[in-house]
Subunit: 413 residues, 2 copies
């Protein structure tokens, strides 16, 4: 069968990627469509139009996930799902997430072009808020799909301005009423740029992703005492920002003491009152820590808690650490990974097995359905950056692999 399968249209895929990038363009060629903003709505609206044009049945679930179905011959067969996300970092790239959604769309367009029916139905999903910019954790909607959180817990999440996930979903018109998850799925495949340098360095077009790093996230609030910048002697200060800065520096040095090294990032910082003439009274900052081994993650959490508490004590600052989310290391389904590997081999595409450094909605899906991911190279491994880039031929190769992996699970005549 495989030999008769059509190839996807790489130019059409690229064109759709560039058309999506017209929404929320950033000054330096990237994309900014933060989840549940007006620009996210515009991106969703464009995708909805494409799904309708492709003849798909679109529904929106209670977490705002957009699910486009292409029915199969056998309505009782568990469906085969692909997808990713259209939301981006505030200064993100054109490919992170978007590629997985539009590669899935290109698979369906190609099947439509060639009149190919599948035994099981196919679904294409745009997961809500993968990036986790606003609500203290990423992949929240796919986590609800997988039963890690209830829908109510996700909708109640608030951003730093106090706006809730649920209210913002209502505001942009994507608060659906379809249930989030809870139906049988045969397999989930997600195509994505690697977001690291391995494939490019090794000259591979496709990564067969076997699993991913675990991680935990903290939001740390350091409280000292505000004071006048001109009159409060240095020796009497309880400066919340200087304390937080000491913590961030120490956190950045911790990975050098662990083998293999984790990654630890302070990406979000908020200083209050944030006035140059006032000694900061409060500073809030994030800690993201990732490692492939569960035992090492547990040890890192202990060390990070000690480090933060020790600096706070020395500086006479109060500190509160809220663990906003955590996820264990993930192992994908061997059969799904084999389907990806076999497809790449059949197409003569250079490929290698690998572990994902970034986390993805697929990590949540893997808890409840057989899952694998398909990586393609991105330039210099740069991602979460306006300069994020990928080659049309690599994106097309990954999409061809996705088509074959999906059909291997959905079944064609």
């Amino acid at each position: 069968m495989s030999g008769n399968l059509p190839r996807i249209d790489g130019e059409r895929l690229w064109r759709s990627l560039m058309e999506m990038a017209e929404i929320g363009p950033t000054a330096n060629g990237g994309s900014g469509r933060v989840a549940l903003t007006d620009l996210d709505r515009q991106g969703r609206d464009r995708f909805r139009g494409w799904c309708i044009d492709a003849g798909l049945d679109l529904r929106v679930d209670r977490c705002g996930d957009m699910i486009a179905r292409r029915p199969g011959r056998n309505a009782d067969a568990p469906i085969v799902v692909t997808g990713s996300h259209l939301d981006t970092q505030p200064l993100g790239g054109r490919f992170d997430g978007v590629y997985g959604v539009l590669a899935g769309l290109e698979v369906i367009r190609t099947l439509n072009d060639h009149g190919i029916e599948t035994e099981a139905g196919l679904e294409l999903v745009n997961w809500t808020d993968e990036e986790g910019v606003r609500f203290g954790g990423g992949c929240l909607a796919s986590a609800a799909f997988a039963g890690r959180y209830t829908v109510e817990e996700v909708l109640a999440r608030r951003d730093p301005d106090g706006l809730s996930f649920g209210d913002e979903l209502q505001r942009i018109g994507y608060a659906g009423d379809a249930p989030c998850g809870g139906y049988p799925v045969a397999a989930y495949f997600e195509a994505h740029i690697e977001q690291g340098p391995v494939l490019e360095t090794e000259g591979c077009q496709v990564g067969v992703v076997l699993g991913g790093q675990g991680q935990f996230n903290f939001m740390v609030t350091v409280r000292g005492e505000e004071g006048h910048a001109g009159t409060l002697p240095m020796t009497q200060r309880r400066d919340a920002f200087v304390g937080a800065a000491r913590m961030a520096v120490a956190l950045s040095e911790l990975p050098g003491e662990v083998e293999p090294p984790p990654v630890i990032t302070t990406g979000f910082v908020r200083v209050s009152p944030n006035s140059r003439n006032t000694v900061p009274g409060t500073t809030t900052f994030s800690i993201n820590c990732r490692h492939p081994e569960a035992a090492t993650l547990a040890e890192l959490e202990r060390r990070i808690r000690d480090l933060v508490a020790g600096i706070a004590e020395t500086a006479v600052l109060d500190v509160a650490m809220e663990k906003t989310s955590e996820a264990p290391p993930v192992t994908f389904d061997g059969g799904c990974a084999a389907a990806v590997r076999d497809a790449a081999a059949a197409l003569g595409i250079a490929h290698r097995d690998m572990v994902s450094g970034a986390s993805h909605d697929a990590f949540n899906l893997a808890r409840v359905v057989p899952t694998a991911m398909i990586f393609v190279p991105c330039e210099r491994g740069i991602s979460h950056n306006e300069a994020e880039n990928a080659k049309p031929e690599d994106l097309a190769a990954g999409c061809d692999v996705l088509l074959r992996a999906m059909l291997s699970r959905a079944g064609v005549a």
Copy 2:
């Protein structure tokens, strides 16, 4: 004459302070009326009403300064001016600035109550944006009054969101057309809480302020490279926030190496893109450095530049330092200071000479007119803080001194 002068009404002064604090109240009992916001407008509107009720002629100059005049018998005599500011820090107190404006109002109300005419006219000023929260420098309007900047330079200043001083002034309805400065002034007195612990510690009700610290301000922009928090190895990162944090920690330690020690503050911090899953590409932060000696300030500037450049070089980060403002140490007019000292002595109020740790609009006025300040104690020296507090009897004592100092310069029959 002095023996016949009336005492101000301390209860009325306190009541006015509390009524102003109804505008922009903060959660913990402070005030938040940042310059050129809607709350600043509301505070100005309330003050305008009080000036009109007191029979004053109110004009607004091109920088938004509100100037209320009480004519004297001799229209040709240079006027005697008092004032301060109604704008506050984002989480400021009820007294910083507000006291000086409303003490001036109480002086005028008292003169009205007793039908006291002065030879020279009196003016009461609410200076625009003393606090410098938004536009990269405080006391900008009084600086224009004193000719340190042109009005156009002040109006062109922009806040971090790109809004200009002039446009925001228009928006709140306080872009006046009166000239800013340029007329003869006999003396300027400004009453203010000390914002430090000296008067309280020494049991004095009034500080005779002889001058103040000099200072300089930098806005520092550190640029590295954004990257994905999960995939970019620590060893390959150019993390702008970690670099800025190292600088802030080193800056906080520098004062310990200088005698007498300066104060150095990083009060404003902005991280971009400020997402917990992205290695920060850019971090902007403020440096405020103050010291009473000009030579030491120059040496501190050199050391701060070296410190910032050295950390940036080690961390392979780009750095730009913009000096947003600077002001030399200030010496007030001996005659005006003597008028304050004599008034306190005549009233039997415990007082001492001192240097101001904070800067004030009076620092600008001192460049062009004979100037002195009157300090009163504040609780634990806490200021630029919602917990800022002062005793009604101390505020009344300072106001009585202000009345006598002003009349000694304006002349009464």
